[in-house]
């Protein structure tokens, strides 16, 4: 792993400060972050909890690729992408992305690129649990 990239896919609670500390760089003027939070509803239905499962080895490779592409595309210094696996409750944090850059525009763009791409390409799946059942998100037409 390159020294300006931190990738994690773990069953423990994600640590925001760890991501900030990783990307913090004395040559940088700012850090943009995106912190996912588990929502209590989806399409009007109350969500009780979520479960994330992953093709872990491939997911880590895909996360790494996103980080590398972000470093190529944008004038940024460091990037951390941490994602949780397993059961999450409402308000828990499934994902943290943090990006540092000398000028803030680049870190905003890279952060948005990373979360948008993650949601399209990384083999991680979310199951939503309702009072009356459970559903794999995005799975059905």
């Amino acid at each position: 792993m390159r020294e300006n990239i931190s990738i994690k896919l773990i069953s423990e609670e994600l640590n925001l400060q760890e991501c900030i500390d990783f990307v913090q760089d004395d040559a940088c003027g700012g850090i943009a972050t995106f912190i996912g939070t588990v929502r209590n509803h989806t399409k009007g239905k109350e969500v009780k909890r979520l479960e994330f499962s992953a093709y872990t080895s491939m997911a880590i490779k895909e996360l790494q690729k996103i980080a590398e592409r972000a470093l190529e595309k944008f004038d940024i210094s460091k990037i951390a992408i941490h994602h949780a696996e397993g059961l999450l409750q409402i308000g828990d944090i499934p994902v943290i992305i943090a990006v540092s850059s000398a000028h803030r525009g680049a870190s905003f763009k890279a952060c948005k690129f990373a979360i948008d791409t993650l949601k399209k390409s990384v083999p991680i799946w979310k199951k939503e649990f309702f009072k009356d059942g459970e559903v794999w998100v995005n799975a059905h037409p």
Binding site: Y55, A59, V95, I115, P123, K126, W136
Partner: protein, 80 residues
């Protein structure tokens, strides 16, 4: 040749297993394999779409499956 196939997310629920070994002929593509899957597991047709990865990299339909490949069925992802 015997090819190991991994199932995730909804496809794992539909198939009822996390992995299956398939007997394939040399020269078969991912498209060929998808037909075999669809024939054997009709439940898969209820899924919006699914992609394939071989050895942890996305591949397209034309990919020719090789000995020792590990195929993964990737239903629509929903991380983040």
């Amino acid at each position: 040749m015997t090819i190991k196939t991994l199932f995730f997310g909804i496809t794992r629920d539909v198939i009822g297993k996390s992995n299956i070994e398939f007997d394939l002929n040399e020269g078969q593509s991912i498209a060929d394999f998808q037909s075999i899957l669809a024939k054997n597991y009709s439940g898969l047709t209820d899924i919006k779409s699914y992609a394939f990865a071989v050895n942890e990299e996305y591949v397209n339909e034309d990919y020719i499956i090789k000995e020792n490949d590990i195929i993964a069925i990737i239903p629509p992802v929903s991380g983040g």
